[in-house]
């Protein structure tokens, strides 16, 4: 546990240290050593979380300063900032006429929720996950108090929250935002993290697996996020609704950095965190090591006849992932639709940055809608690659071998996984496009946008074709090749113009080739070419897979 001691300790010194440790007999004995140990195991993770989250402040501040360079521009923004979509997604906008207020609108919710995720994962990682893996057992057999390790875990997580908050405040001060607001900004985000340490600590007592504890924690973040979203939608003007007090995220929002700058909700957030940790320690004293307070969920003793088919099994394995992606497509579609109008009226057609991004389309609104259609296509592409990637992980884990040792043809098995990726991406395209139109308050017909999105299907299929080819010929590199091709396509389609790539090069990438309706006119040729490429690559990959060795790791 000692960092960087060059020489080895003699057994006598060891005994001395143990005797020293054994002098304490309380349940917290050794908490300092445990905290150092956790820090040592997690320092890189902790540093990345804190630095990435805090570095958003100058990045977003810069971009907003460019977007709204004058007080007049900010005042104009303040007039239109309070839309239901903004209130629901990022919180009730207030002080939208100041740079601090705009910073809060753009990034506060992201940072607060991200920090909540960070502490949930961190508390589980050093709590329930260690216990599940048997490492806690080993530690408890030493002269370590019963509550020492979990307490150290909570303390380290709290330190992450405080460090992140402090960095955020200092970075706000460094761009000369108002001092009080800067401190409240950091404190409200740190406070959100502190509150979720308490909640995550309780989750770690309830579930008996790390997966279960993380799921419970994430579900709580989701629940409290939606409670405050509903509250913010009910708010009148810029005054928060009373319902926002039912969510700790709401408490932190109500600190109103760069607005009223309330300090006292911080006390409530810290108290919730502390109370949660104390309750968790109490619960831990009442249960056996490795047990959870919630009974482990049992499942069916046999599979239904559909699940035993190749397609049924693949669907069952992808079930939660499919639901997640479809929900994501629906939510982003609704969001895109609801902001399309406002966004197109805000963008300055003379701004070269905006021109590059939106393209030289028919109108600014069509350009914005075209971008949203592209976003939806990128989402469908990511889904498809992840979905077909499941086939490779079945092979890697050795589970494919056991299935193919049965009377299952290779083509049938791979076909089932491919079918889900192909049809699933089609559903995401149609769903996202349709809902964008439906939420656009008449800016675009839902069916038209659904069609515009579906035009990107061949682009998605061509990426799947490449993935199949890799799976056939170089299975070990399937995932890397598929995501690299996706990444390059995304960069070219979204930022190709900014990187001064020529139009021809952009048109030669999957997402760049498809006409971006409604900003551009439809044409069949690129779709047909991409479809042909998909078929050739896919058939070659499938054919090779039928002839190659099945390799588990």
């Amino acid at each position: 546990m000692s960092t960087g001691t060059a020489r080895r300790r003699t057994p006598a010194e060891h005994a001395q240290r143990h005797a020293a440790a054994a002098r304490g007999t309380g349940t917290l004995t050794g908490v300092g050593t445990a905290a150092l140990f956790i820090l040592r195991r997690n320092w890189l993770r902790l540093a990345i979380w804190a630095l990435v989250l805090a570095s958003m402040i100058p990045v977003v501040y810069d971009s907003q300063q460019q977007a709204f360079p004058t007080q007049a521009a900010r005042d104009a923004y303040a007039q239109v900032a309070n839309t239901p979509a903004v209130a629901a997604m990022t919180g009730l906008p207030y002080a939208a006429g100041s740079l601090g207020g705009i910073l809060v609108i753009k990034i506060w919710m992201t940072l607060a929720v991200a920090l909540a995720f960070a502490v949930v994962f961190l508390v589980t990682r050093n709590g329930r996950a260690d216990e599940e893996a048997g490492r806690t057992e080993l530690l408890r057999s030493t002269a370590l108090g019963r509550h020492a390790y979990p307490s150290a875990n909570y303390l380290v997580s709290a330190a992450l929250c405080l460090a992140t908050g402090l960095l955020i405040s200092l970075l706000c001060l460094s761009v000369e935002l108002p001092a009080t607001g800067s401190w409240v900004m950091g404190a409200s985000i740190a406070g959100t993290g502190l509150a979720f340490i308490g909640l995550a600590a309780i989750c770690g007592q309830l579930a008996s697996t790390s997966r279960g504890a993380n799921s419970l924690g994430v579900a709580l973040i989701g629940l409290f996020y939606f409670i405050r979203a509903a509250a913010d939608l009910q708010a009148e003007g810029v005054n928060p609704s009373a319902a926002s007090w039912f969510s700790p995220i709401g408490w932190a929002q109500n600190m109103r950095a760069f607005g009223e700058d309330n300090w006292w909700p911080l006390l409530a957030l810290a108290s919730l965190g502390l109370a949660g940790c104390l309750l968790a320690l109490r619960l831990e004293s009442t249960r056996d090591l490795r047990a959870g307070l919630l009974p482990e969920r049992r499942g069916p003793a046999a599979a239904g006849s559909f699940t035993t088919t190749a397609l049924g099994l693949a669907l069952r394995l992808q079930r939660s992932s499919l639901i997640g992606w479809f929900l994501g497509a629906a939510v982003s579609g609704l969001f895109f639709g609801s902001v399309a109008q406002a966004m197109s009226s805000l963008l300055d057609p003379e701004n070269p940055f905006a021109r590059n991004f939106v393209g030289t389309g028919h109108s600014m609104l069509d350009g914005v809608l075209g971008i949203f259609v592209l976003f939806n296509a990128l989402l469908a592409g990511a889904f498809a690659i992840q979905c077909l990637g499941a086939a490779r992980s079945e092979e890697e884990s050795g589970r494919l071998e056991q299935q193919l040792a049965g009377s299952l043809a290779r083509g049938t098995w791979l076909g089932a996984h491919l079918l889900i990726a192909v049809l699933g991406s089609g559903v995401i395209l149609l769903l996202g496009g349709y809902l964008t139109g439906a939420a656009s308050q008449g800016s675009a017909a839902p069916a038209l946008l659904a069609g515009a999105c579906l035009a990107f299907w061949p682009a998605v299929l061509s990426l799947l074709g490449l993935q199949l080819l890799a799976f056939g010929y170089v299975p070990r590199f399937t995932t890397a090749i598929a995501w690299a091709a996706y990444g390059i396509s995304v960069m070219a389609a979204m930022f190709g113009g900014l990187f001064s790539l020529s139009e021809d090069v952009i048109r030669a990438t999957p997402f760049g080739a498809i006409p971006r309706m409604p900003a551009e006119d439809f044409s069949w040729a690129p779709l047909a070419v991409l479809l042909l490429i998909s078929l050739v690559l896919g058939a070659a990959g499938m054919g090779r897979f039928n002839r190659r060795d099945v390799l588990a790791n």
Binding site: E296, G299, P300, T307, T308, Q402, A405
Partner: protein, 309 residues
């Protein structure tokens, strides 16, 4: 039992992974209705052979036939008549053990539901638990229940008991005996000599991807020498002249030596004259045979390498 062809017939099988040769001239034959042992150290090519028989790997040379058909060309049809238990069982973590059994056993053709319930009971496996929470032994039980509840003609078992406790191993032994009694063929790859000696009629021993010994267990034993330790009243050194006694070692009144089984009657008669007080005779074990093939220098006699039991 479709034909008179042997259950497994492999000759001169070769397989390379890049530049390493996993198999180079492997022969293996399992007659219909026979339980055959397949012995070899780690990395000797047991699993590779089984994977080729399952059509998962393509052989680079030699021939392999299973149930009279080509394991690569006719894989899917063959697998309805075959059940497989891998040494390392991987299951879908968020499905239950019972669901995994359904999925795997259905892939091996017809499922005997009554047998499945019996086996779950025998192996003491809770099928409603998520596979994530299973130990290695429990995952192996899932694969065993799936394989044994099918009506497969041929069982391919790749170190199937490596995670089982002795009690469960016994259950496994009786299940295999039952399968053999029903006329099914079994290929049992294993490290556990006792298991192979208990269950198998024939044994094939491989080394570095090549068959070094194969035949009926009884005949292979015959090739080996019996190890005898005896305590006599007189001077044990006098035994040195008895025909058939070799590798004589003396320690006080005790003598240990090896005897060719054919010469055993004459040696026993000679021993009787020395008034033996205590006599231990160990038949040649499979372990001796095995170690003989795996020790550094195959020319050394078995007893010199501590094969004594």
């Amino acid at each position: 039992m479709a034909s008179n062809a042997p259950a497994i017939e492999v000759s001169g099988l070769a397989k390379n992974f890049g530049r390493t040769a996993a198999l180079s001239g492997l022969d293996l034959r399992v007659e219909t209705g026979q339980v055959a042992g397949f012995l070899g150290p780690n990395g000797s090519g047991k699993s590779t052979t089984i994977r080729i028989l399952l059509g998962l790997l393509k052989a680079d040379g030699g021939t392999a036939r299973m149930l009279g058909a080509d394991p690569w060309q006719d894989a899917v049809a063959l697998h309805r008549r075959v059940a497989y238990v891998p040494g390392e069982v991987n299951l879908w973590p968020n499905l239950t053990g019972g669901q995994a059994i359904s999925i795997l056993s259905k892939l091996h053709g017809e499922v005997d539901e009554r047998r499945r319930a019996e086996l779950l009971d025998l192996f003491d496996l809770d099928p409603t638990k998520k596979a994530r929470s299973y130990s290695k032994g429990n995952r192996q039980k899932v694969a065993l229940v799936a394989a044994l509840s099918s009506r497969a003609e041929l069982l391919l078992l790749d170190e199937p008991t490596s995670g089982l406790d002795p009690l469960m191993e016994q259950v496994f032994t009786s299940c295999i005996r039952e399968a053999a009694a029903q006329g099914r063929s079994v290929l049992l790859s294993s490290h556990i000599f006792a298991e192979v000696e208990k269950l198998c009629e024939t044994v094939t021993i491989i080394r570095d991807g090549r068959t070094v010994e194969s035949g009926r267990l009884a005949e292979l034993r015959h090739l080996q020498r019996t190890q005898v330790t005896v305590e006599v009243a007189g001077n044990p050194a006098e035994l040195a002249g008895v025909p058939g006694i070799e590798e004589l070692q003396l320690s006080g009144a005790t003598a240990s030596f090896s005897v060719d089984p054919d010469l055993l009657p004459g040696v026993l008669a000679a021993l009787a004259a020395h008034s033996p007080r205590n006599l231990v005779s160990a038949p040649p074990s499979l372990e001796d045979l095995f170690l003989r093939h795996y020790s550094e220098d195959p020319a050394l006699p078995v007893s010199a390498r501590g094969g004594e039991r």
